[in-house]
Symmetry: C2
Subunit: 243 residues, 2 copies
Amino acid sequence: MRIARLDTPTGPRHAVALGDRWHLIVSPFAAPVVYTGESIPAGEAVLLASVDPRVVVGIGHNQPGHALPMQAWHKSVHTVAGTGDSITAVRGVGTVNIEGELAVVIGRSASNLTLANAFDAVLGYTVANDVTNVDQGAVDERNFQGKSGTNYTPLGPWIETDLADPENVATEVVINGAVVVNSGSFNLPSSVAAALVYVTKWLTLEAGDVVLTGAPGTDLPVKPGDTVDITLAGIGTLSNTIA
Amino acid sequence: MRIARLDTPTGPRHAVALGDRWHLIVSPFAAPVVYTGESIPAGEAVLLASVDPRVVVGIGHNQPGHALPMQAWHKSVHTVAGTGDSITAVRGVGTVNIEGELAVVIGRSASNLTLANAFDAVLGYTVANDVTNVDQGAVDERNFQGKSGTNYTPLGPWIETDLADPENVATEVVINGAVVVNSGSFNLPSSVAAALVYVTKWLTLEAGDVVLTGAPGTDLPVKPGDTVDITLAGIGTLSNTIA
């Protein structure tokens, strides 16, 4: 099931794709889904960020040999944007990278998940672009300076609740119409399940929270004017421009 | 003016103290204040976290000689609690510290503040306790593991909008009824204004966001059962217990 977040005259509303229309729902977190009876033709829908999180957690997969196999950090929810939005590159502080990633959208309160039940609290998956001023790394101990720009976290185009295997999601990054990288979550140094176990060992996640699972070789430099299309197999394509 | 956030039958509501009553207001961010006409006797009011932020930013004041004088990091909004709430100490991972701090509550969108206008976007000030599993520092590059516990960020008891000088706020920490530290924002290695300039150079803050300005020697170990009272002169006392 695809769940989008639409810009409507009554504010942001979640909706489910059925045929060629988006059917509005009361909440993305209710099971079973409750439809309001309203619908919007797909061609007329304006997609917003696929979720409005209270918490966005990024995962750093350290390289083999590093004393710390995995680390996490918070990214400002003010950076969240939707497909089609323009990313305002912070200029004059070095290279701006895009990072095409699988993002996990949490469906209910979750703490102390295990590898066996790591996906039980998941609502679905969306495409993320973890935009970063990568040269700030050396002077930015906590991932604050390099990851706080306007629209630095596009999430979209929608949430897919039925993903066959989150550990095997092919990821293609296209810049200015040319395929630059083919990779996937199978290339992450640690598994998606391990990331959820790690995060929820320390922090209780809540419905709507987002975990950015890391860039499997999909971090690429961009410049103003570039268009970036990130496609995750089984989910869809997140498209943004660099301003 | 004191602005509190109260637990009421219609949900959290902001209110202004006038005499011995809390008078409900439409929004803490509207100027001038719009009263709803409802009021609650101070003795019957239940205080919640003084603000419900979308973003909580902590400041690390590095020691003189460190290449980076100041760093920032995000703390999960899920950790926000109110005065009177019980802090659930994360056990088995070393010492739990409380940190008594001046917290800045932002009143409107703010970016690229300067030392000259750093306080222009401030709504007011509240008392913060930045609870931390301090021994995680060595294995927690991004301040995630050590600062994510339940109720690890008490904010309260209210927001004071009229504070004479945020750079000179005396801070007293009392544990189990005994004064343990007297300090103040005047002992911070960098000024409160400098912290706001630094944060807004990278991140646009929005109304309701909170900046924890750092602990001026007010980081102290606690154990389950302890009561912690942090008093900031001109604001009030934030009281919590350790569970």
